[in-house]
Symmetry: C2
Subunit: 232 residues, 2 copies
């Protein structure tokens, strides 16, 4: 599951949305405003699509702006929907502040911190939301830095976003491992010179069009065990 | 609806998927393989997300590969689904060859061709599929070039994809107008120095985080009328 040189690994860079946090409660927020719960994954894929589009075109907008645009576009298209778009969109987005970490995250983070890895987050979202999420789980003090793409002003998986993260903690790219549930994030990190760990969280298939991960684990507990085993 | 200088406009660069073609029949293909029709928009947004991710990371894969990866990832996650993933994915993808143009496209294309505009297509998909689509509608001879991103090896909305298209027909970017139903495509074209026309096709809201279109029209007939009026 690992390549050589794992003993040089110093920093773990965590993606946040879906990797640390469980977005499932946002489905209920869609239902709250009269939209189908299944619109949530369509919307979230579209938010990433549009943020990546801006990045690919050399531009930038905050996650919240792109997410709001996405809701403004999708909600009026829901059959029979006739609500207040701005209020409904706000209700969905406010749900980000109520999210919790996946059940395996506290154990995994503590194990990795105890083993001496430096932990940071790097999100396409906002570090304020990351801080709230990790504080609620009692984990925030175990992280050295909470970073987001407002620093480099480009979204992951652009190379500059990963390079920004490793620069902030003053390590070389190859001393860092990106941990994410999204293959596009793992692929981007690998192309930027970091290593990449894919948390499967129930998924079975990694895309053939993307660079294969350095590590693959079901969840953060399993990844922590693998990283600690490779280190010792 | 227009800026100045429309009389210099020579080339119309058409996006294909959803702009010329109607993807609705793909919903039935999802049902054919035992998946909900509503998985179609989630899958399609995810295909663009992953293609743009590769582009943002400086990499490239063909549309068909990314689309196949997306189906391999999504189908096993459908509750109670237990089919043959490869056969089901092929069945969905084969649907692209069966698509037809939107009802307004033949009139719009003929008007624009008669008015002397040079027409080309530039798709993140394949020019073979574009050719089949336009041939079936009796329109293929009205297009000067059918282009796809296998040329520049980066997906729209990367600047290089638009520049490749205008280079192929030997015009300056500002002499070309990108026509698309997707705001991210219009935004990318504008950032690459082209003009951009947004076909609304029932949508009401253009994203605030993207560059506003040079033209906005309900469909291709309406856009043709506006472009011809501005030219004369």
């Amino acid at each position: 599951m690992s390549d050589d040189g794992a003993q040089d690994l110093r920093v773990l860079v965590f993606d946040v949305n879906e990797t640390l946090s469980d977005l499932t409660p946002l489905r209920v927020r869609f239902e709250d405003v009269g939209a189908p719960a299944d619109l949530m994954p369509t919307w979230f894929a579209g938010v990433l699509r549009d943020g990546f589009a801006l990045t690919a075109a050399g531009a930038y907008a905050d996650f919240a702006s792109v997410a709001l645009d996405g809701l403004r576009s999708l909600l009026p298209g829901v059959k029979g929907w006739a609500g207040d778009v701005e209020a409904a969109a706000r209700h969905v987005l406010d749900g980000f502040a109520e999210l919790e970490v996946h059940p395996d995250v506290p154990d995994g983070v503590r194990k990795l911190s105890d083993a001496g890895f430096q932990l940071v987050t790097m999100t396409n979202g906002s570090n304020t939301l990351t801080e709230g999420l990790l504080a609620k789980a009692g984990l925030v003090d175990l992280f050295e830095e909470l970073l987001d793409v407002r620093g480099p002003r480009c979204w992951k998986p652009a190379r500059a976003a990963y390079r920004y993260a490793v620069d902030q903690v003053e390590v070389r790219p190859e001393q860092a491992l990106l941990v994410a549930v999204h293959p596009w994030d793992v692929d981007g990190a690998l192309r930027a010179g970091l290593r990449g760990a894919w948390l499967r969280r129930g998924a079975t298939v990694y895309p053939q069009s993307m660079s294969p991960p350095t590590y693959s684990a079901q969840d953060l507990r399993e990844l922590a065990d693998a990283l600690i085993a490779d280190r010792t």
